[in-house]
Amino acid sequence: MHRLDAYAHASRLRHVHPLNKFAFALTVIALCLVLDRPAVSAAALLWMAGLSLLWGGATPGFVLRLLAAEGLFLALGVVAVAVQIGPVGQGGGWSATVTPASLAQAGALLLRAFACASAMNFLALTTPILELAAAAQRFRAPAALLDVTLMMYRSVFLLLETLMRMQRAQESRNGYASWSATMRSAAALGSQLFAASWRSGQRMEMALQARGYEGGALPMLTPAYTLSRTWPAVACLVLATLLGLACL
């Protein structure tokens, strides 16, 4: 999560308005689903991964690891499409069969899902999630919801750091040396983490007050985005490629 966030903040596409990137990713996903062509899915997958790497600035290793993790999950999902299980004759037995048609169907489905995942990866690798949430204010998302998202997002990183520190402290005293010790340590970690996050939340509230916060929506600067000609041109090129492939 740290690295995904770091790439999003360092992305060369960060200056593009988050809603533009969101609309673009959503359109690519919609085209993959509606056009239902393996060539379209494959092109979308390559375009999205390519943009994340070459323009977004993510490393190939990280993009591949993301796709591999998603691929594992998606592959498990399409097994049910590839393998058909049914009763054999009158005897009451069952058989699992794989036909070329079911394999092709599973492959196409996997490719389509990969393409959609790749579009979401592009968004995640080029747009900090909080900028996306802040941009949602345009759609009249409640300010309180955005504030909660903001604080939770920050808390996740703080909690992860606290969790790692506590876990290391337990491990250094053989807290995970046996099955029973692991169970004991994990239970203690869970309860202590809750208490630590509660205390941390209290202190954070105090720190906000110290800088003049009096309740209500957290005042934030509006992020500045720049208009570029390259971004719409590339976005249109990607969408035109997908539509063109569908017409072939």
């Binding site: 966030d5 900090p128 941390s200 105090m206 720190a207 800088r211 003049g212």
Partner: protein
């Protein structure tokens, strides 16, 4: 030379809910423009509690906190004004930084004080430059190192342009270079007519950086004096823990007494 009294704590008394003993008992301290005060005392002596009163986060059960001679009213406008004048930097910067980017975090205080977006942005950029972190403005707080986080927390308070800075053990745990950087930022603030109260356990900081040491014991400020007075007297040296110092400034390390 007589300087203006900025912040004054007068006979403050405070007991945390459920606590057996009061955290402050008749604690008094005056902070004048241009002063660098090291607030010292054992753990639990009431240093942090006193600083929380300075920013209006805690309200004394007895006693008065004054700004330029006037008692704080604890109304919303009075607290807003106080927090623009008296900045509080917490010991753990992680609990102070919350915004998606450093720029937004630094602009938070000015926006709360009623600054326009443009002014808040300018103040945030000024504070970042003052704390030598202007190259980090687009970064999220969790991507910063410990020292950078501390500078960011300091910049977040400086962006509010306070006259008095209350810093709660902000130099502890820093490497010597980062500590010197933080102390120089505090010095620049004082040179511009501000004042700093730094709660610390570091004897060398108290001795060489501060103009005055305020010693707290059991919730009370028992003595305020220049560092030389504290370090010259064996009795005061003992009370600030300087008699436990392993190495004196003049003693090279290889001549230092061996600990047993």
């Amino acid at each position: 030379m007589t300087t203006t009294s900025l912040l004054a704590f007068e006979a403050l008394h405070y007991r945390y809910p459920g606590a057996d003993a009061p955290a402050l008992r008749s604690a008094s301290l005056e902070v004048r423009a241009g002063e660098k005060i090291a607030l010292m005392g054992r753990n639990g002596s009431g240093k942090s509690t006193l600083l929380l009163h300075g920013n209006g986060l805690l309200r004394p059960q007895q006693g008065v906190v004054r700004w330029q001679g006037e008692a704080i009213a604890y109304t919303r406008p009075a607290l807003r004004a106080l927090r623009s004048r008296v900045g509080l930097i917490f010991q753990n910067p992680d609990e102070q930084l919350f915004a998606p980017t450093l720029l937004q975090d630094l602009a938070f205080g000015p926006l709360n004080s009623g600054a326009s977006e443009q002014e808040a942005r300018q103040r945030a950029e000024w504070a970042a430059a003052r704390c030598r972190i202007e190259h980090l403005l687009a970064q999220p707080p969790h991507a910063l190192s410990g020292g950078q986080k501390l500078c960011a927390a300091l910049a977040g308070v400086l962006a509010m342009r306070p006259a008095v800075l209350l810093a709660d053990e902000v130099t502890s745990g820093l490497d010597p270079w980062m500590r010197r950087n933080v102390l120089s930022i505090l010095d620049e603030h004082v040179a511009e007519g501000g004042a700093v109260v730094l709660s610390t356990h570091e004897l060398d900081v108290a001795r060489h950086w501060a103009d005055k040491i305020a010693l707290m014991e059991e919730g009370c400020v028992v003595h305020v004096a220049p560092p030389r007075e504290f370090f010259a007297s064996p009795a005061w040296r003992a009370r600030i823990g300087a008699d436990l110092w392993l190495f004196s400034d003049a003693t090279p390390m290889h001549h230092a007494p061996r600990s047993t």
